[in-house]
């Protein structure tokens, strides 16, 4: 060991910008994040290959055959209905449509049923795909947020960092900022991958149908709210793990909540469904919110009626904001007050 060290005058702690830069570099250098990105890209490539094999744009001949088969089925269904209506055993007090069914139409027997393999339909599957991708991105963001702070506690680097920046709220703020931005980037990346995949499939193996008016605004709106959901999930993962100081425990609690607690509420207290996190997550992303069936009730005329409740995206965003703020806030307050060993 050599070298002469000449200490300067007293120096304060580093800037918040430096702290955020260091946290960002640490985040990006984590193997879990790199593996996650690789898995996402590999998953995208696999989905592309599988979809290209599963879907196929129909040739004019196949389209004509499918239309003929569709017409044949509609005709057969119509003949069957006529026989049913003509049956003398048909009860007189039951409406014909209730006994023999309504007349068959092309809507009930869509053309895609007669196309094997069927073509990809951007208008039919674009938004539904974005909602599914949002759910996947939220689950990954939860893990990203949780493992980010969980690694800090398991290696006790959280304590070591306080030798360098003693203002604990700053330390937490830098980590939360990085988590929020990273979750948003993850959500954005996954939605961009879905949009790219869907557009590619539509152009290569699509149904050739031009999406209806308002389709793109609905799709992009759902994707934007999907990114917001990823941010909530990332922060919740961070907050819960920071409270429990263990990634495994936080993941376990999340699993028990989603798999057991929420289902128990649905079965035993259906009226509480608007307060369930997964319902709010779905309501946030779905274009028209989420309709919940809260309870069966007997009205004043003695008829059973299902009570519906529309959980809107706005309500869901407000609820998720409150829950995330509470979970993160309690963790930050405890971190600020506790003795650290």
């Amino acid at each position: 060991m050599s070298a002469v060290l000449t200490p300067p005058p007293t120096a304060p702690a580093g800037s918040f910008g430096g702290l955020v830069r260091a946290e960002t570099h640490r985040f990006l250098a984590r193997r879990f994040i790199r593996v996650l990105l690789l898995v996402a890209l590999a998953g995208w490539a696999t989905a592309l290959v599988v979809s290209l094999l599963a879907f196929q744009t129909p040739s004019p001949e196949r389209l004509a055959e499918a239309r003929a088969a569709q017409q044949e089925q509609i005709q057969l269904a119509g003949e069957g209905r006529e026989q049913c209506l003509a049956d003398p055993a048909r009860p007189a007090d039951v409406a014909p449509d209730d006994w023999c069914g309504p007349p068959a139409t092309a809507d009930q027997l869509p053309l895609s049923m007669f196309l094997q393999p069927e073509p990809f339909s951007l208008s039919a599957d674009g938004t539904a795909g974005a909602v599914s991708v949002a759910a996947l991105a939220a689950a990954l963001a939860f893990l990203v947020g949780g493992t980010f702070v969980g690694a800090e506690w398991s290696t006790r680097s959280m304590v070591a960092l306080l030798f360098w920046e003693t203002r604990r709220p700053r330390v937490m703020a830098a980590k939360l900022l990085v988590t929020a931005v990273a979750s948003a980037v993850l959500g954005l990346l996954m939605q961009a991958l879905w949009l790219g995949l869907a557009t590619l499939l539509q152009s290569v193996v699509g149904d050739g149908v031009t999406p209806p008016a308002g389709f793109w605004s609905e799709l992009l709106g759902a994707q934007g709210r999907g990114v917001l959901l990823a941010v909530f999930a990332g922060l919740l993962g961070f907050g819960l793990t920071n409270l429990l100081r263990n990634t495994g425990a936080a993941t376990g609690v999340a699993f028990v909540y989603v798999a057991i607690a929420e289902n128990a509420v649905r079965a035993l207290r259906p009226a509480w469904q608007p307060w369930l996190l997964t319902n709010n997550a779905a309501a946030l992303v779905l274009p028209d919110g989420l309709t919940l069936y809260l309870d069966d009730r007997v009205d004043s005329q003695g008829v059973y009626r299902q009570v519906e409740y529309l959980l809107t995206s706005g309500q869901a965003a407000a609820f998720l904001t409150l829950v995330t703020a509470a979970v993160v806030g309690v963790g930050v307050v405890l971190f600020n007050r506790r003795d650290l060993h």
Partner: protein, 304 residues
């Protein structure tokens, strides 16, 4: 200006279902700037709690704490850039290399990246700097911890058991480094160690903790002098006859190898005169100096 000041500091830990455990009990401790200050105490005496209170990791229940003339914890952000610390086990990300760990810390504190290479040189770890931390030996981990503590060019360097896991050459290197840092006039090294010999060799002053209090503090020589036994070692040709003369004069005498150990001697000249008067001429008379270990053991002995 003292580098460290603690006045009437108390801290108790409360655990559910157990009575509060007092870790610091009206602690008064002052470490003057410059030099190496040894911080001694048996396990559970409050050393680590004291260091954690100084670094703002643990909040004191009562008392005043100042670090580099700033109150702790309120003023800590103003001076933390001048405080380097290695507390117990070095804490780093196991999957990152030593260099990357140091660079992240440097970035946090706004320290230039070039400083990372300097401190890697100081602890002789540059060749292994790109290896993952989890692959380091205990000694290498400890050296990286010291490198991190030096990154900020600290005015106050807090080292808690820095020689843990080091081989003899490493221990010597760390000792030389501490000595060099302590002698540059502008760095204060607060060295907590259970190696009494280490403290004795490098420390200018020492504080001894027991049961949450500082029971002795000052320059090493003064602390040792305060515990001086007053024993002298006497070597004469006829030990039996000399022992008889001294015992008859009221001294307590016991054999010690090829000499005699005479206890509680107020004036060694008396012993010389007495023996000479009886025809015993001294080959050796030397005071038995208290070493830090005996001082430490005597001071920290449980009164019960």
């Amino acid at each position: 200006m003292p580098a460290v000041e603690l006045h009437a500091v108390s801290k108790s830990y409360t655990r559910r279902g157990r009575p509060p455990q007092k870790a610091l009990d009206d602690l008064h401790l002052v470490v003057e700037s410059g030099g190496v200050h040894g911080f001694l105490g048996p396990n559970g005496s409050g050393k680590t709690t004291t260091i954690r209170v100084l670094l703002g990791l643990v909040r004191a229940d009562a008392g005043d704490v100042r670090l580099l003339d700033r109150p702790v914890p309120a003023g800590l952000p103003e001076v933390i850039g001048s405080v380097g610390a290695l507390v117990e086990t070095p804490l780093f990300f196991p999957g990152f290399s030593g260099r990357r760990n140091l660079r992240l810390l440097a970035e946090t504190a706004g320290v230039p990246r070039g400083r990372v290479e300097e401190v890697l040189d100081v602890v002789a770890l540059r060749d292994r700097a790109d290896d993952r931390f989890k692959g380091y030996s205990l000694g290498m981990k400890q050296r990286l911890g010291i490198a991190a503590a030096l990154l900020k060019r600290p005015r106050l360097l807090v080292l808690d058991e820095p020689s843990n896991g080091l081989d003899p050459a490493g221990i010597r290197d760390v000792r030389e480094l501490i000595r060099r840092l302590g002698s540059d006039g502008s760095t204060t090294v607060l060295l907590s160690s259970h190696l009494l010999a280490e403290i004795e060799q490098v420390a200018d002053s020492v504080s001894i903790m027991a049961r949450g209090r500082c029971i002795a503090s000052g320059p090493v020589r003064e602390v040792l002098a305060g515990r001086s036994s007053g024993d002298v070692r006497v070597r004469v040709p006829d030990r039996a006859a000399a022992a008889a003369v001294l015992t008859a004069a009221g001294y307590r005498v016991s054999p010690a190898d090829d000499a005699l150990l005479v206890s509680a001697v107020r004036a060694p000249g008396e012993v010389t005169r007495l023996l000479a008067e009886h025809g015993h001429y001294l080959e050796e008379l030397s005071p038995v100096a208290a070493d830090l270990e005996s001082a430490f053991l005597a001071l920290t002995a449980d009164p019960a």
